[in-house]
Subunit: 276 residues, 2 copies
Amino acid sequence: MDKDYASEEEFLKNYDSSKFEKLSATVDIAIFSVASSKQDNYRKLNNKHFSVLLVKRNRYPFKDMWCLPGGFMGIDETSEEAAKRVLARETNLKNIYLEQLYTFDDVKRDPRMRIISISYVALVDKNRLDDTLFDNASWFNMEIEENDKEIKVNLDNGEENFDIFIRKTLKELTTDRYKYTIKKNEKLAFDHPLTIASGINRIKNKLEYTDVAFNLMPEYFTLGELQQVYEVILGKKLLDPAFRRIIASKVEKTDKERIDGGHRPSKLYRYRGKNL
Amino acid sequence: MDKDYASEEEFLKNYDSSKFEKLSATVDIAIFSVASSKQDNYRKLNNKHFSVLLVKRNRYPFKDMWCLPGGFMGIDETSEEAAKRVLARETNLKNIYLEQLYTFDDVKRDPRMRIISISYVALVDKNRLDDTLFDNASWFNMEIEENDKEIKVNLDNGEENFDIFIRKTLKELTTDRYKYTIKKNEKLAFDHPLTIASGINRIKNKLEYTDVAFNLMPEYFTLGELQQVYEVILGKKLLDPAFRRIIASKVEKTDKERIDGGHRPSKLYRYRGKNL
DNA sequence: TGAATAGTGTCTGTGAGACAATATTAT
DNA sequence: ATAATATTGTCTCACAGACACTATTCA
C-alpha cells in the first residue's frame, strides 16, 4: 500500500513508475480500398474488389510473411497519432478515414514479448494514391465468404493467393457478437487475420447505416460505381431502384457524364453530406 | 536495424525487449444497471434509472474523487481477463455481459506516467446483486441529456449529485462519429467522463438492433418493466403497441403474473433468444 | 368509482422489394 | 441490331407511428 502523502503533487513526486511490469503497444491498420480491374468484354463495367494493403515482413519475427502496416506506439504519442504516422508513411496521404477498431491483447500474440495491438481501420480511395507503393507493400483483393460459423477470406495480389479461415463462436444469446478464432492461416503474421476479419465486419456494418462508403470514392463517381462498391463489400447484389432511392438524398447530380463502353453514358455525382 | 539471424528462434533468443520505452495498461469498466425507486403514488410503477457503478478513490492520484472500477492489467493476463477479475471483485458475479469499448490513450490522461486504459462496458441485473457493495462503491443514477453539440449527464447516488458535460465535435461528414472533449468535470477521476459517455452511447445504439437489454433484466419480468428499461436508456417514451410488436418474438409469456398496485396485474415474460 | 397500468385492434403512411419499361451507347 | 448499362415508374407487402378501445386491480 502507498504511504500517506500530504498532496497529489507530493505523491506524484515520489511515484515509482517501475513498480509494475510494463508492456509495449503497436498500432496496426487495416487499410481498405476498392480496386478495379478491366473486363474482357468492352461493354461491361470494370470489376471491383474490396482490397486490403499488406506489407511483406523483411525481418523477424514472422519474416517473409505478410502483415498489416503498423508500428510501435511511441511513449509520447497517442495510438491515433501513431496510426496517422503509419498511414502517412504508407500512403503519402492525409485526411484519410481512420477509426479505432479493437485492442487485441492475447498474451502470446507476439513471440517477442507482451505486445498489445491497438488496431485501426482506414479507408482510402485508390485513385488518390499514386501506384508507387513501397516495394514490400501490396494490395490484396479480398473474396469474402461468411456464414454463422466461419469466415473465409481469399487474398490475391496477382502473384500470391491464399486463404484465411476464421471460426466464429457466438459470445452470448443477446447479441450478434462472435469470438473469432484463427482456424487456418499460413501467410499472415501475428493475429492479423483477426484484425482483417474484424475490420471487414466493422465496415460492412457501417455501410448500412452511415456514409462511410464515400471515403472509398473519388470526388466524381457514377451511381453504378457507387453501387458496385456497396455490392462488393456487402457481398450481395442490390436492386437498382432501391439503391438509388436510398442514396438519392446523399448525392448531387453534376452536369458531367462518363462515356465508357457500349452502353448509355452515366451522369457523374458528388457526395453531398448526410441527409439534408 | 536488426542484425541478420539464421532463424526465428535465433532471433527471439537474442531479442532485447528493453529497447523500447514501455507503458502500462489499466482496464476500466463502465458497469451499467437499471435501478428502481419507489413512487409516492401506490398506483404508479416504480421509477427506473439507468445507473453506473462508481468507486471512491482512497489514494492518489485523484484521491477522494469518483472513478470507474478498474485495475492494472497484469503482464500475463488479457484485458478481458483483467476485466472479469475486476468485475468479480466488484460484484461477486460471473456471467455478466462484458464488451470491450475503446482504448483511451491520451498521453497525459494519467499524471503518474503513460498509462492507457482499455475500457469495457458491463451490464448487470441489479436484482442479482446483493446490496452489500464495498463501502467505497456506489450506484449513481444517470440523467442523460444529449444533442448534436454536447452530452450532459447528471449523476446522483442519493448523497452526492453532480454533472459532467462533454462537448461533441463531428469527426467527419460521412459518419456520426464524434470526438468527445470534457467540458466540465469536477468529481470524476481521469478521463472517465469520456468512458461513461462512450459506454452510454454504445449501449444506446445496441439497444436498437440487439437484445442487450435483457442483460439488465431478471429472469422473469413484465413487458412494462422491459419497456421502462428501453425508455430510460433511449431517453424517450415508446408507444405500447409498437414496443410489444417488436419484442413479441423475443419473449415468451409464462403463466405467472405480478400484482403490484391499483391496476391490472401483468403477465410475467421470459427471454427466449434472438428471433425464432 | 376512479386512477393507473395491461393489453389489443386497426387505420394510415412510408419505405423496401420486385419487376417492368424506356433511354442510350459502341461495336 | 444487340448487348450492356443507366434511369425511372409503379405495384405490393410489411411494418412503424398513432390513436382508440377494453380489461383489471386497489384504495
